[in-house]
């Protein structure tokens, strides 16, 4: 035991270095040029932290640690190699795994130390298991919906928020009682179990279009539960990493909620998914103009500037590589092609950027909403591929629309608008899009991938003749 303090100091210094590397890792993420370095910093920090932990003299046996590390690696590798289109569900699944780890450690900690748990520790321990278990089931639900194992349609019923908030309140009251009466250990399973149910109920009313906000929020919860675990275990490293992750998820949730025009309390209580509105009031059929791939190709080839607006439909159709071919074909003809990225396009923050980067489109061509919106009036053609609500001008003009006030990409300001869409059926949220009925709008009916392919063929043919 004599050399224990020295050893403990060594471990703490290693943790200090690891914490600094984690902060640097995030700092370097601010630019694609330095981001790779950020991953290395994170990896080195992680190896140091795990190595330092293994030095701890409290460890009496390494066998199970080794087995678990190997098994975790075996599971982790395929999760790191998924397709880019599957990244949203992979992310949700990893939030679930992180929360699972935190919850299990919290449960084990409780039964090892009860009933001699100081009140403060019991408070943060409760926070740890409540946040951990609701994040666990909530993230599993989100992953299931994104993978389409579960129905993507939002399930709502009357009094849903009341039921959910009551459940959460019961869990918190039980936890508070346990803090004040440490002998009431029978309550503990409920403090774990009720949030597990709450997590499921919280995500049931969420539709696909709201997933970016939910994933960010669950990210934040996962971080906060890890920070709470840091308080319980008195680990500064965990507190720091948890706080960084918690604030990252929080910032992303705020950005996503602003991009959907949801209030902040709305997110905090998980009361999103309210956009679905019955779309039964469109009785009359309004005329639209449609065009063939040949006509579309001719218009695109004659343009000087084209802005492509990708949405989740592009991801579903796996059309990003065809879009890249279109980009190449137009760029060769001297057309300036850029991409307008709405913050909530896709199923998680930044989803479209990753898909287009995967298709080798240079990232300086991917323009954020606020920057590109000023340029639509000077744009010859706006080509919408698989996006709907984020282009809906009703958000600007129609105060009765459920998405009124939501910031949108101003594609209707472009000189010509082309929309690739399977049919005239309204989008996921069931909201009609007046953009489709404008005189300058041409509807290109068909599957995103095959239609873009047809345009590329037309462009190639036209070039050689």
């Amino acid at each position: 035991m004599t050399n224990f303090p020295a050893n403990e100091q060594v471990i703490q210094v290693i943790y200090l270095v690891a914490s600094a590397l984690f902060i640097l890792a995030l700092k370097w993420m601010n630019s694609p040029v330095t981001a790779q370095r950020g991953v290395w910093a994170g990896e080195i920090g992680m190896v140091l932290a795990i190595g330092g932990t293994l030095l701890n003299q409290g460890i009496v046996d390494y066998k199970w640690i080794a087995i678990a590390l190997v098994l975790g690696t075996i599971i982790g590798i395929p999760l790191g190699l998924v397709q880019m289109t599957a990244v949203p569900q992979r992310t949700a699944l990893s939030h679930a795994f992180g929360a699972f780890c935190v919850t299990l450690v919290g449960i084990a900690d409780f039964y090892l130390r009860t009933p001699n748990i100081p009140r403060f520790v019991m408070t943060v321990l409760s926070l740890e298991v409540i946040l951990g278990s609701l994040t666990f089931t909530g993230s599993l639900m989100a992953a299931g919906k994104l993978q389409e194992v579960l129905p993507q349609r939002p399930l709502t019923y009357k009094g849903q928020n009341l039921v959910n908030l009551t459940l959460l309140a019961v869990a918190i009251v039980l936890a508070a009682y346990l803090v004040l009466h440490p002998g009431a250990t029978l309550l503990f399973p409920f403090i774990v179990g009720i949030p597990l149910v709450f997590g499921v109920l919280m995500v049931i009313p969420i539709g696909g279009a709201d997933m970016p906000t939910v994933i960010s929020l669950l990210n934040s919860y996962a971080g906060l539960s890890a920070a709470a675990m840091g308080f319980v275990l008195d680990s500064k490293l965990l507190i720091i990493a948890g706080a960084l992750d918690g604030s990252s998820g929080f910032i992303l949730s705020v950005i996503m909620s602003k991009a959907m025009n949801r209030s902040f309390t709305n997110i905090l209580f998980g009361a999103f998914g309210k956009v679905q509105i019955s779309a039964t009031n469109e009785a009359e059929v309004k005329p639209v103009r449609s065009a063939t791939a040949e006509e579309a190709a001719a218009i695109l080839a004659a343009a000087n500037t084209v802005v492509v607006v990708p949405g989740y439909g592009m991801a579903i159709a796996q059309a990003q590589h065809k879009v890249r071919e279109l980009y190449d074909a137009l760029t060769r003809r001297g057309v300036d092609v850029r991409f307008a990225i709405h913050p909530v396009a896709g199923r998680m923050p930044g989803h479209m950027n990753v898909l287009l980067a995967e298709a080798n489109i240079p990232y300086e061509r991917l323009i954020e909403m606020d920057d590109i919106n000023e340029e639509f009036p000077q744009t010859d053609v706006a080509l919408v591929i698989g996006a709907n609500d984020v282009t809906n001008p009703a958000a600007r003009t129609d105060s009765a629309s459920p998405i009124y006030g939501m910031p949108i990409l101003a594609v209707d300001k472009a000189r010509t608008v082309m929309v690739i869409k399977r049919s005239m059926s309204p989008g996921f949220a069931g909201i009609d899009n007046p953009l489709y009925y404008l005189d300058k709008t041409l509807m290109l009916f068909g599957d995103a991938k095959s239609f873009v392919n047809d345009i590329v063929h037309e462009l190639a043919g036209g070039g050689r003749n």
Partner: protein, 98 residues
């Protein structure tokens, strides 16, 4: 315990502020890799789980701890791997040395 608690709260507050300031500056271009990176970093909870497994205070804690280490390790490995893959895809057409 009292001073430890206050220290811990100070650390949490400072780290949260650093997180806000650093992450606010991150371009929306990289929000997906950011999330997978913070996921991997968050799996630092593995350190607590490793100690729990190694200390072997009870069979219950050994079993739960082992499962926890497996879950967190898969996040570490998978998280860094996919972040690295994603970032390799972000290319620029500008002739600039990285």
């Amino acid at each position: 315990m009292g001073s430890n608690l206050i220290d811990a709260l100070f650390i949490f507050m400072l780290a949260a502020f650093i997180g806000f300031e650093v992450i606010r500056r991150i371009s929306p271009l990289l929000h997906t890799p950011l999330m997978s990176l913070t996921n991997a970093l968050d799996a630092i909870a593995v350190t607590g789980a490793i100690l729990m497994v190694g200390e072997q205070k009870s069979t219950f804690s050994l079993v739960l701890g082992t499962l926890a280490v497996i879950a967190a390790t898969s996040n570490v490995v998978g998280g860094f791997l996919i972040t690295d893959r994603m970032l390799k895809m972000f290319k620029t057409s500008r002739p600039k040395k990285p």
